[in-house]
Point group: C2
Chain length 405, copies 2
């Protein structure tokens, strides 16, 4: 008897949670489950800004796949996906090729530079463990260089964040906590260090409640973060960023430009012939692709329209995790010849951290929260995910309990 083969590509929030749900839904040997990922660990994308700032070690953010996936039930392949052939039901990997009966695409996002010259070569981005810890080391390296050079170069101490969205703001908040440590380590006066957020639109944190935006800007501003809005980045070089504001060209000397203004769905999806909008597959209500009944998409590669606003839900860990339950359930239903169930997003709220002990957010019933209380809620949300993924053991190992610092 042919055992149905479920292949999950990508071990981000959507992929790993689908895998964990599937291994619970099926007894050993009922189906063949294969998980493919290019690293042997899952990581929490929403914590990477802390690793990049150096306020949290990346080993707290990543979780070895074998710790949460039952290797007796799931076959794990450490490899990189090259392309998908949905007609032949095959996935091509760098060193392998897989055939599937059901495919779950959870390939996540990648950065997009909008063709701005120099971003690709000179800017850093908070994408994964490798890029996050590189930012941490790049910062340290530049601080270490400052007093070593005969001519002091302020470009080494100016940190420019391109994009005042969620990630940019959260990263700035962490930097505020990190700079005093770096300054002490390298004998640099704190006042010499600048953190500058360049935002193309008229406000940071677009889409957030205006009152909360004001709170965030006041809080970060009072701790030294500079905001330049209506500023569109024109070019990055190895030691400066050029932007346009009010029709004028300006530049900031900086060796550390963090590009957090553009992400898009992993290009493999579009290149593999799926119908996409802005690179994403607009999935059916049961999270399958419109064209292929055996392919599910979760997380950043999936687009779901919010019927209330007629806008797509923003990509978030929360949505991906919610999707994974439905995907796992629907795969079981299809295998057993039952009807699939429909996905309905439940907003549990959104909290953006502003460094230690500060945050802003909207929680259940659209209640606004800010300050210490919000920072605690953020940590509770993070711990809740760890619980879902790996139970109490994982919460105790990787959870955040530093409510008071």
């Amino acid at each position: 008897m042919h055992k149905p083969h479920v292949v999950i590509i990508g071990a981000g929030y959507g992929g790993i949670m689908t895998t964990v749900k599937l291994q619970k839904l099926f007894g050993k040997g009922q189906v063949k489950i294969t998980l493919v990922n290019k690293e042997d660990y899952h990581y929490q994308t929403t914590w990477l800004h802390e690793n990049a700032a150096g306020t949290l070690h990346h080993d707290r953010t990543r979780i070895p796949i074998k710790e949460v996936v039952n290797m007796n039930k799931v076959h794990f392949i450490l490899d990189t996906v090259v392309s998908i052939n949905p007609i032949e039901k095959k996935v091509k990997l760098e060193n392998n090729e897989l055939e599937y009966d059901f495919l779950v695409i959870g390939l996540g996002f990648e950065k997009t530079t909008f063709g701005i010259p120099g971003i690709e070569e000179h800017a850093f981005s908070i994408e994964n463990i490798n890029s996050a810890r590189l930012i941490r080391e790049h910062l340290e390296y530049n601080f270490a260089n400052f007093h070593h050079e005969k001519v002091k170069d302020n470009a080494r101490l100016n940190i420019v964040i391109g994009g005042g969205g969620f990630t940019g703001i959260e990263f700035a908040g962490e930097l505020i906590n990190r700079i005093p440590e770096l300054s002490a380590e390298y004998d640099i006066e704190k006042a010499l260090v600048r953190i500058i957020i360049l935002e193309a639109s008229s406000t940071v944190l677009q889409g957030f409640d205006p009152q909360l935006i004001e709170y965030a800007m006041t809080s970060l501003g009072s701790r030294g973060v500079e905001f330049i809005t209506n500023a569109s980045i024109k070019e990055c070089t190895s030691d400066k960023v050029v932007y346009e504001k009010d029709g004028k060209q300006c530049e900031i000397p900086s060796k550390t430009i963090i590009w957090s203004a553009g992400v898009r769905a992993n290009g493999i999806v579009e290149q593999s012939g799926f119908g996409t909008k802005q690179g994403k597959v607009e999935v059916k209500s049961d999270l399958r692709t419109p064209d292929y009944d055996d392919v599910f998409v979760v997380g950043d590669c999936a687009m779901i329209i919010d019927k209330k606003t007629n806008q797509p839900f923003p990509a978030s860990a929360q949505i991906a995790i919610q999707q994974s339950s439905v995907v796992a359930h629907n795969i079981k239903a299809l295998i057993e010849g039952n009807a699939t169930k429909l996905f309905e997003a439940k907003s549990l709220g959104t909290v953006a951290s502003l460094g230690h002990q500060d945050a802003i957010g909207v929680v259940l019933n659209n209640r606004k929260v800010f300050g210490w209380k919000a920072s605690v809620m953020k940590k509770i949300i993070d711990n809740r995910y760890l619980y879902k993924l790996g139970g109490l053991g994982l919460v105790l190992k990787k959870g955040k309990f530093n409510f008071f610092y």
Copy 2:
């Protein structure tokens, strides 16, 4: 009544110990003592290789001047010496000018590149706190970059030490202890990392006992250090080092070239018109310069011929510390109209560390020591210096007691 003004320039081993001795010899107000240094801390040059490797924090190596110098008795000036005018008895600083009755020159060493192209721009050197911690961060930065780049670049993992003298060997020993940590931090297989010592002459540790050299090479070699002798460096670029061996040009891809093959006395001494040999002043037996009776030279800027061998004593912390006692005594003698005493070097032995728990050396009565025992002796020597400089308090604060790791 004119109080004699004693100016000490440089707070290395010789300068700081002379200052500390002087403040003990004179009561408050008897003389005016001024110490000039370009940092507000003294540091142990002989520990810098550990800071560079990242096995010891630089705050253990440096000692704030105010912790060991009595600021009621000594006037400390944070400034950089530009030149000395021994005829007018003046010292020019970047932001000041001083007149002296007695001058103690303790300006230490600086690196010399022998004009090899690219060393100045691309190689690192273990000279001071700033350069040592930069090496530590440069190593981390390259390891952090390794997995971030699509094309893996082994130049990031090849560490080339140019010069197999004391510093080069000690640095290699520390690296052996550091590499496993770095490899774990950045998910890099230890076997990919290479530590290569390029030595121009036929052996490393020239001047050491052949049996001890063999021990050192076997010990480091067994832990993965590669030795290339009779190899003269021809050029450094940002990602390789070119050397010549047996008439052939070879190159090693490397972004980390540590130049430890050449130091010379601080150039200010020669430029200020003192008669020098190899940049050093061949001092009289009471440690004054032959031409100026009010100028003493200690440490790396002084040359003293060992009458037994007719060779100059090698520059060492030990000699500088011994000199400082004599200099302080002689300044007091001159002020009080007494005869100066003569300097006689006492060899207390030399120990080179080979990483944790291993070392080689020659101690009192030319007894050879190696292994763990030698490593303990090295630490005892280090602690003895701290005791001389700042008493038991300083030993407890900065001393080395990790005899067993």
